[in-house]
Amino acid sequence: MENESGALSRVAGLFSARGYNIESLTVAPTEDASISRMTLVTRGSDEIIEQITKQLNKLVDVIKLLELTEGPHIEREMMLIKLRAVNHEREEIMRLTDIFRGRIIDVTDETFTVELTGSSEKLDAFIEVLHQAAIIETVRSGVTGIARGEKSLRV
C-alpha cells in the first residue's frame, strides 16, 4: 500500500463495513519508505475470499495484493511472554524455551520474559504446554508471511 495516513483505516473500515473478520493484522514500511506492507489473516469461504480480494484491490491506496495461502509460503509470528519463574519453575521454563528454540530476554527474581518466533501453531503449543498460572502476560505480533521460491510481491 501507499504509506499514506489513512491507508490502514481504509482497510480496517472495509472489513468492518462488509462484515468480514480480521483475525490478525500487521503493517510496517518496506525498504521503500513510500510503500508499506500489510499482512492480514482472515477466514471465509472461497466466494468470500474472492470478494475480499477484489474489494481490497479496489482501494486506491492498495498497490498490489497477494493471497499467500494460494501457494507454498512461510508464516511467522512473534510473541513476547512474561512468565512467573519461582524456584523449580525456572529450570522447567528454561528447558521448554530451549526446546521451542525461544530466547529468554528478561530476568528478575520472580519472572522470565521469553521471546518466541514461529508459526502460530508453534506459539499456541508453547502456551498450551505452560501452566495457566505461570503466564503473567502475552503479546503477539500477528502473522506475517512471504511466498516460497522466486515468487514475490513487488511493485
Binding site: E2, S9, K54, N57, K58, V60, V155
Partner: protein, 564 residues
Amino acid sequence: MELTGAEIVVRFLKDEGVTHVFGYPGGAVLHIYDALYQQKDVEHVLVRHEQGATHAADGYARSTGRPGVALVTSGPGATNAVTGIATAYMDSVPMVVLTGQVPTQLIGNDAFQEVDAVGITRPCVKHNFLVKDVKDLALTLKKAFYIATTGRPGPVVVDIPKDVTAAKTDYVFPESVSMRSYNPVVKGHIGQIKRAVQLMLSAERPMLYTGGGVIMGGGSAALTELTRLLGFPITNTLMGLGAYPATDKQFVGMLGMHGTYEANMAMHHCDVLIAIGARFDDRVTGNIEKFCPHAKIIHVDIDPSSISKNVKVDVPIVGAVDHVLGEMVRLVKESKREPRREALENWWKQIGEWRAHDCLRYDKDSELIKPQYVLEELYKATGGDAYVTSDVGQHQMWAAQFYKFDKPNRWINSGGLGTMGFGLPAAMGAQFAHPDATVACVTGEGSIQMCIQELSTCLQYRLPIKIVTLNNRYLGMVRQWQEFFYQGRYAMSYMDALPDFVKLAEAYGHVGLRIEKPADVAPAFKEALAMKERLVFMDFITDQTENVYPMIPAGAGLNEMILL
C-alpha cells in the same frame, strides 16, 4: 506563478474545465470564496443547504457525464454534505466535493466547526484526501478528478485546511497524473468477449439486462446498435433507463421489484442472460436462490468486485462498456453465424403473450386524479424529451414506468441510496447544465419538503424548473407496504399539517398551481410549460389508494409478482 492555496483551487477548477461549483460559504472556506469573487470563469451557485449543493452537483454530473463539483465549509457544512456524497457513491456518480477544514495546527483539537471529514466520509466515497501542504494541493486536486471520473466513477472528497488556502506556492496545472496504485481496466479480454458472443448467437431465449453502467460509461450508442443487430429483447434497471430507447419494440420495460410483468417473466425464463453495466442489485434479483434458474450468465462490468458478487456468472468480462460493446458489435458482424431466428420468433411470441397482460393498466375513468395519468400527460406534454429528476417513493416508480426515456442522461434519480429530497436540487444541477432544456422534477409532498429551501436558489438563478408533485397526503410507498404486509396499520405514513403548496411556491416567488380534477391535468401542463422563464410548482391532488404494480415482495422470485 506564485498563488495562495485558495487561488490555486479556483485556478485549477478553471484549468480542469469546471464551469459550475455548487456551494455554501463558511469560516474555513472564506479565502476560497474571496478568490472565487475575483474571477469570472467558474460560476459559483449559492444553494440554501449543503445537501442541496451535493445533490445539485450530482444532478449536473448525471445529466452530462462530466464531474459535478461542490464546495462546503468545515464542520456542519461537511456533515450536511454526507447524504449527498453517499447518494453519489451508491450510484457511482463522478463528483468532487471540496470541504473546508480548520487550520492544520488545530486538527484533532476539537476546534470550532471541526469534524474529521475524511474519517466520516471514508465509507461512502471512492477516495478522499486531506491536503496538509499547499505544495500538494494542485496535484491532489488532479488526482481527485482523475479518480472520480475514471474506472467506476464515484465521489471524491478533498479536505482543505484554512491555512493551506492562505499559504503560497508556485502553481503549475498538472496536465496528467498517473498513480501506481490505481490503474482502471479499460479493455475487456478478447477471449472472453468471443466466448460471450458465441453464447449469445446460440441462445434460444436470450435477454439483455442493462443498467446505470451503460449510461455512465457512454455505451448507449453501442448498446443500441448491438441490440438491433441481434434482435434480442432488452430490459433496463431503474438506473439504466434511457440507455436503450424505451419506445422501441425490443424494449420490454424496466425489470425488478416494480418492473413490468413481461420483463420479469422474460428474465425468469431466459436461457442466456447478458448483463451489461448492471450489478444484480437486490431490487432487481428478488430472492437470489430463485433468480434466473435456467440461464447462463454473461456479465460485463468495469468493476471486478461487482462480478460474481451476488450471482455467480459464467462469462465474466471486466472492461469499459463502450469498448466491450464495440468489440461485440464487430464480432457479431464478422461472424458467419446468425442468431437462432426460429427460436427467437417463438421467444418473441411468448413475450407478446406476457405483454398482453397489460400489467401497468389503471382505471382511466376515475373522478380522482390517478398518479399514473399525471406521468403519462407529463410525457406527452414534454414530447418525451425533458430532463426528469425524481425523489423517492411511489411517484419515482410511476415516473420510471410511464415516462419513456429514449435517450441516456435524461432520467435522474437516486436509486442506490433512495434519498428523499434529491429531486429538486438535482433538477437545479441539470438546469444549469442545460439552460435551454425543459427540466421536470417528479416528487411527492413528503420528499419535496426535505430540500424545499432550494426554491430560493431557483428564484435567485431564475431556474424555470417544473415541479410535478403527486400529492396523495401519504408517504405512498410506506403506506403501500403497510397495506400489503402490516395489515393496514398505517404508522406515521399519513402526512398531516401539509402547507398550502401554492401559497408556499408564491411566497418563494414562483408560480403555484393546484390541480384537483383529471380534466385539468393536461391543460395545467400546457400552461406550465408555456411559462419558459418561471418555476411552476404543480400540486396534483391524487388518489390516495393507488399502489404500484407489479410488485415482487421480499423473498419472492422474479416470476412471483403481485399484480393488479
